[in-house]
Each structure stands twice: as structure tokens, then as C-alpha cells.
């Protein structure tokens, strides 16, 4: 592995090695560019991972304190950990469950399709689906997505059988085991799933795509990648022309370094990327970088995510097998007759007993709870992911009242539910319980959202500089050579799980950066 000099002004410096950053690093190395990849977390391997809900959570997660405000229930349930993502090489792709769906055409035209919704700050994406499609294809191929490119579907598990028959009896029709970046058969050097049920604990078996097990090793093989772990970026630098040209970071030993860069790319996930921009104030950019129009951190999205857990007379054993292998897509389209804008997907959900107990309804105690949890083996689960409305006040800010270990103010995450969000939540709960009841559920528990796992929109992409932070290539409108390649760059959330789109955008951005770098 090369070590580029701190004053090497030729390298692209990427902050964060997750879905966006890890993919982009590989794509740029494949195109012959020098890449310095700064990752705050350690480089763990399959050897280190464990099959255990809490031990894995503690091993992989970003555990630095945050604060939360707003009327979302998360501010009450998880006030210092409102968002859920990772701090390891591979980022949250070490933790994700592999659901890989494409945006629908109209979701990239959210403002034009949904109209002027009071309180919502909707815009259209500056990219169309047809522009994105070739990149979706490349992303699906590299990730080995089931039911694409001739790859088979994941086999149906117990929890899916419940979902299938419930949905069928309700008259729903778009039911399948879904699309996953998890191998049903060996593919691209990775084995087929053994249905261990622990993809989200790092995935010891390696059947699931992650940047840790696919992109980063391939980038390393080019001899172009300088991966620095335990490297925490704290500030982005710019030159006199106002163009990004370096990153200040603190290494694992606590030493501060300045790495010069030809191009800087933020890929720290949706909370850390705006936090870094806001923390990089200078005389020229007094509100933080790329924040001339005040959009950095705003329009934060987290999807309408919630789970229903149901109890049946007979055993389900939902913990056996791939946790999210099921999809009902009947509510994915935008149908104003439902009384709200946007759609949602219903997906299978399962958790181990430890996290099921913790997330079912934080604060619940007494006999009613114990009666439910004792029936864990008879429990089935489903979740929904739907489009939430962007609002300017839903935002990441610096909480100046508390500094982290690096002297940077901690992030505050503010979120108020929009009326459209609540209508969709209500509709979703009724659909989810309806499906389980049709399959014979004797009790359904409508669980609230757990800490936000689909974090999007806080540095959004826009056609016009006054509407967002980055342009159609992910370069900030205001600061040249400063790019964003994580979920924060989404112009709107769509309904589906975001990672396939993050990866597709990263491949697309690689083409653009390669051209820029050679110019």
C-alpha cells in the first residue's frame, strides 16, 4: 500500500469508507487516480466479527455522543444516539442488511409530482432516472444483487412465509423475497448465504456485499490506495481562490496532520459530513463551507421507518436466516387517493431477542411486556420504509454547548414530523398489522422508529445553487473541488432503502472526478 506525502497535491482525499466513500475510492483507483482514504474507525475483518446483537453493535457503531431535539419520538427514546451508523472500515455497509432497490422515476421529480406541500421544502433531483439507470446496472452487478443479472432470489424463510400468506390473503400482488446484495449462490468470489441471521453483525461469512469485503480490497490491489484508519477528519481546508485543497485530521495516536488534496470528497454519512462543513468556517466562508445559501445540514431525512411485531399461535423463529428477505411493493407508488404524498415499501424485518426487546417500545415494562417477549419464538416482523417530507428546520447543527474529544462541537439532530409523515405512518401501521392479522396474528405490536438508519438529504443536490449544497455531480455549488458522495447528497428521499442509489451515484461521480483530475 502506498503512503502519499502530506504535501502531495495530486491525491483525491476521501473522508469515510462506507457505501459512498469506499465505492468511490475503488472506482477512482481503478481509473488510476491516487486516493487517500481517511477512516475514523478501525480496520476489522471477518475474524473479529461476532454473532451477537449487542457485542456487534458496540464493536461497529459510531458511539460518539450527539444530542436530539424536535417532536420525533427518537428525541425521547434515544436522546444521545438519534442516528444509527458505523465507525469502521466499510462504514455502515458492515452493518446493513443488503436490501437494494432503485428509485422510481417520479421520486426523482418529487416537487413536480407531489406539488406544493405546505411546510415541505421539496425539490426535483437534477438527475433523471434514465441518466441513473446505467449506473444502477453497474452497481447491481458489482454488488451481486439478487433477481438482477440472472442471479437467483434469496430463498424464502419462515418469517417470509407469514408475510407472503398475510399479503396474499389481503389481495396484495407485488410480493417477493426482494432484491439483496446478499448471495443466494456463490458470486464474484463470495460464498452463498448460510442463513446465519447475522449479516448485520459484520457478516462473518461474507455472503453480503460491503465496501469492506469488496471495494476496499480491490482498491488496495491497484496499488493506488492509501487507507488511513483511526484517522478523524476535523476540518476541510481551501486555498486563496476558495477551492478545497486539504483536510486536517487527527490520527489514532492523537497527532494532528494536514493532508493536501487535489480534490476533497466527504463521505462521512449524513450527520458527520454537514458537521464537518459547518466546522470548517473561515473568513471567506463564515457560515461554514458550501453554506452560502444556508442549506448545509438542512432538509435532513430519515424515511418513514417503523416495525410491526406480531405473535402467532405457532412458532416462527424469525431469527433464522437472512433478516430482511421479503418485499411487498404494492404501496410503493405515489397515489394521492391515499391522502398523502409518496409511497412506501414493506420489507421483512427480524432481530435477535436482545434488540427486539430493546426496540419494541423503549420504556415499556411490566407483565404486558414480559408476556409479549416470552413469545419471541412465535413472533414475526415486518417493517416499512417510506418517503418523508424534507423540511428546512429538520437539520444537523453544531451543539456549541458540548465539544467532542477532538474539540469539535457535537452534532444536534432536530426533526419534527410533517403531517404527511404522520399520515403515511398511520397508513403503514394499518397495512402491516393487516397483513399479519390475515396470516393469523393474535397480537400485533406497532413499534416506534429505532435510531435513524436511513440518514439522507442534509447536503442536498440541486439544479440551482440557491436550493441546495451540491450540483448534479455531487460537487458543492460554492467550493470547487469539494464533493459529497454519501446519503447527505440526496435531493429527496424516495421510499426505498438508499444504499444502491448511494453506490450508483458514487460510480457516476467517479467518471466526473476522473475527468476533472486529468484536466
Amino acid at each position: 500500500m502506498p503512503t502519499y506525502a502530506f504535501n502531495d497535491s495530486d491525491a483525491v482525499v476521501i473522508i469515510g469508507s462506507g457505501a459512498g466513500g469506499g465505492t468511490l475510492a475503488n472506482e477512482l483507483c481503478q481509473r488510476g487516480l491516487k486516493v487517500v482514504l481517511l477512516e475514523a474507525g478501525p480496520h476489522l475483518t471477518a475474524e473479529d466479527f461476532v454473532n451477537d446483537d449487542w457485542a456487534a453493535y458496540e464493536m461497529l457503531s459510531w458511539l460518539d455522543r450527539r444530542s436530539a431535539s424536535g417532536n420525533w419520538r427518537i428525541a425521547k427514546d434515544f436522546p444521545d444516539a438519534p442516528s444509527w451508523h458505523c465507525k469502521v472500515v466499510g462504514g455502515t455497509t458492515t452493518h446493513w442488511s443488503g436490501c437494494t432497490y432503485r428509485f422510481q422515476d417520479h421520486e426523482l421529480k418529487a416537487r413536480s409530482t407531489y406539488g406544493d406541500i405546505p411546510g415541505a421544502s421539496l425539490i426535483d433531483w437534477p438527475i433523471s432516472l434514465s441518466e441513473l439507470e446505467p449506473y444502477y446496472e453497474r452497481a447491481e452487478a458489482k454488488m451481486g444483487v439478487s433477481r438482477t443479472n440472472g442471479l437467483p432470489a434469496l430463498p424464502a424463510n419462515n418469517n417470509f412465509k407469514v408475510m407472503y400468506w398475510g399479503a396474499k390473503r389481503l389481495g396484495l400482488s407485488k410480493i417477493s423475497t426482494g432484491n439483496h446484495a446478499i448471495n443466494a449462490v456463490p458470486y464474484d468470489g463470495r460464498p452463498a448465504s448460510i442463513q446465519d441471521g447475522f449479516s448485520v453483525s459484520g457478516d462473518k461469512h461474507g455472503a453480503r456485499w460491503s465496501t469492506l469485503n469488496v471495494e476496499i480490497p480491490r482498491a488496495e490491489a491497484t496499488g493506488k490506495l492509501d487507507l488511513r484508519t483511526g484517522a478523524r477528519a476535523i476540518q476541510i481546508l481551501h486555498n486563496e481562490a476558495g477551492e478545497a485543497n486539504g483536510v486536517v485530521y487527527v490520527d489514532a495516536a492523537g497527532t494532528t496532520h494536514k493532508q493536501t488534496a487535489k480534490i476533497v470528497v466527504l463521505a462521512g454519512n449524513c450527520i458527520e459530513s454537514p458537521r464537518l462543513l459547518l466546522n470548517s468556517k473561515t473568513g471567506r466562508y463564515p457560515n461554514g463551507l458550501a453554506n452560502g445559501y444556508g442549506h448545509v445540514g438542512r432538509h435532513y431525512l430519515r424515511h418513514i421507518i417503523q416495525t410491526v411485531w406480531s405473535i402467532f399461535d405457532q412458532p416462527v423463529n424469525m431469527h433464522r436466516g437472512e433478516l430482511m428477505g421479503g418485499l411487498v411493493a404494492d404501496f410503493a407508488e405515489h397515489d394521492p387517493a391515499r391522502g398523502f404524498a409518496g409511497g412506501y415499501y414493506i420489507e421483512l424485518n427480524a432481530m435477535g431477542l436482545p434488540t427486539t426487546a430493546a426496540f419494541m417500545n423503549p420504556g415499556w415494562w411490566g407483565y404486558d411486556f414480559t408476556n409479549v417477549i416470552e413469545q419471541y419464538a412465535h413472533m414475526a416482523g415486518m417493517f416499512m420504509t417510506g418517503e418523508d417530507m424534507p423540511q428546512p428546520g429538520n437539520r444537523v447543527t453544531l451543539n456549541e454547548s458540548e465539544l467532542d474529544a477532538f474539540g469539535v462541537p457535537i452534532a444536534n439532530l432536530h426533526y419534527d414530523d410533517h403531517p404527511n409523515d404522520l399520515l403515511m405512518r398511520n397508513h403503514g401501521y394499518k397495512t402491516l398489522t393487516g397483513i399479519h392479522q390475515a396470516a393469523g396474528a393474535k397480537r400485533c405490536i406497532e413499534a416506534p422508529a429505532y435510531p435513524a438508519s436511513h440518514n439522507l438529504g442534509s447536503n442536498r443536490m440541486s439544479a440551482k445553487p440557491e436550493d441546495g449544497v451540491v450540483d448534479r455531480n455531487g460537487e458543492t455549488h460554492e467550493v470547487k473541488n469539494l464533493f459529497i458522495v454519501d446519503g447527505s447528497a440526496f435531493a429527496s428521499g424516495g421510499a426505498c432503502n438508499p444504499t444502491l442509489t448511494i453506490v450508483a451515484l458514487a460510480i457516476r461521480q467517479a467518471d466526473f472526478i476522473a475527468t476533472r483530475a486529468s484536466a
Binding site: 461476532v50 454473532n51 451477537d52 446483537d53 449487542w54 457485542a55 432470489a153 430463498p155 424464502a156 424463510n157 419462515n158 412465509k161 407469514v162 407472503y164 400468506w165 410480493i175 417477493s176 423475497t177 448465504s193 448460510i194 442463513q195 446465519d196 441471521g197 447475522f198 462473518k204 461469512h205 399461535d313 405457532q314 412458532p315 416462527v316 423463529n317 431469527h319 433464522r320 436466516g321 435477535g352 431477542l353 436482545p354 427486539t356 426487546a357 430493546a358 423503549p362 420504556g363 415494562w365 411490566g366 407483565y367 411486556f369 414480559t370 417477549i373 416470552e374 413469545q375 419471541y376 419464538a377 412465535h378 396470516a439
Partner: protein, 177 residues
């Protein structure tokens, strides 16, 4: 002091065997007798029994042995010994709960225990103890086996040959999925 047994990485209850990942420490050994509190660093015996009674009242499970609840408090003790804020919250919880009724909490009938806990339900101390009770109780291998959660599976070949699709009380799925 020996507090870790090296053997307990799987437990069978009612025909279900639960497995802890081989890389993780096995269950701490907790004595059946009143001397179990000897292994604690922070809590004195009164605080320890108060906390056990609290977890039993918050999360009552018939047939779950007192040792399981004691293990939760052993975990509390470990956390509180390492984290000052956890120590402060758990000790303050003991004080608040003791003050919540004229009779010692451990002597109260269940109805009155519940009422005493309800009087402090919105305090940060209660919220901390309640969340940590869930965190540790449902992470206990004996609880896993009791409620049918089999746990770690990779070292056993996953569930692909161990029932991931054995549900047979619904009709078979169509072939064209």
C-alpha cells in the same frame, strides 16, 4: 476472585439450545447463596438486592431463576464500575426508590413495588435502570433459551440446515416466486 466459568456458552431449556458466540466471554458465575454480592465492586448488599428486586418487578418472568436477575445486577455493577455516570445514576436510583415507600422496597408486595416504581418513572435514574435492565436481561443466554432464541449460528453452519424454512403451519409457497 473467580467470576467467570469457562464452560457456559450454550444452554438448553425446553428443547431449545441457545448459543453464545465462541469469541465472547461466557456467562459470569453467580452464587445461589446470599454471598453472591461478594463479587460486586460498587454496590453494597442492600443496593444489590434492591436492584435485583427492581429488575424482577420491571420484568417479571415466571420460572426464570433468581440467578438470572442477579446476573443483570452483576452487569450493572461492571458498567457502573467503569462509567462514572452509570455509577451516579444507579446509586441515585437506589436512594430514590428507597425513599419512595416507608417500608423497604424488597419487603413490599408486588402491587406496592409497582406503585413505588411508578412514582419515579419519569426520572433519569429510573429511565437508566429500566433501559439497562432490558439491555442485560434479554442478553442473558438462559433467557435466550427460555424464550426460544437460539443465538449465534455461524460456528454451527448457520440455519440453512437447521430450520430457516421449517414453518409448516401455513400452506406451502408457490414455486414461481
Amino acid at each position: 476472585m473467580e467470576i467467570f466459568s469457562i464452560v457456559t456458552r450454550s444452554i438448553t431449556k425446553n428443547g431449545v439450545t441457545a448459543h453464545k458466540d465462541p469469541k465472547l466471554p461466557p456467562l459470569p458465575h453467580v452464587s445461589d447463596g446470599p454471598d453472591w454480592t461478594n463479587i460486586l465492586n460498587l454496590f453494597n448488599p442492600e443496593q444489590a438486592t434492591l436492584l435485583v428486586a427492581t429488575v424482577q418487578t420491571l420484568y417479571p418472568h415466571r420460572g426464570v431463576a433468581p440467578t438470572v436477575y442477579r446476573r443483570v445486577v452483576v452487569n450493572f455493577d461492571k458498567l457502573a464500575s467503569q462509567t462514572p455516570s452509570a455509577a451516579r445514576l444507579s446509586l441515585a436510583f437506589c436512594d430514590k426508590l428507597s425513599a419512595a415507600s416507608p417500608v423497604s422496597f424488597t419487603e413490599l408486595a408486588e402491587t406496592y413495588r409497582i406503585s413505588a416504581l411508578k412514582t419515579i418513572e419519569t426520572t433519569p435514574e429510573f429511565i437508566f435502570v429500566q433501559r439497562m435492565s432490558v439491555r442485560y436481561l434479554y442478553d442473558d443466554l438462559e433467557i435466550w433459551a427460555s424464550f426460544g432464541y437460539e443465538g449465534a449460528s455461524y460456528h454451527l453452519g448457520g440455519y440453512i440446515k437447521r430450520g430457516f424454512d421449517d414453518l409448516n403451519w401455513l400452506p406451502p409457497l408457490p414455486n414461481d416466486l
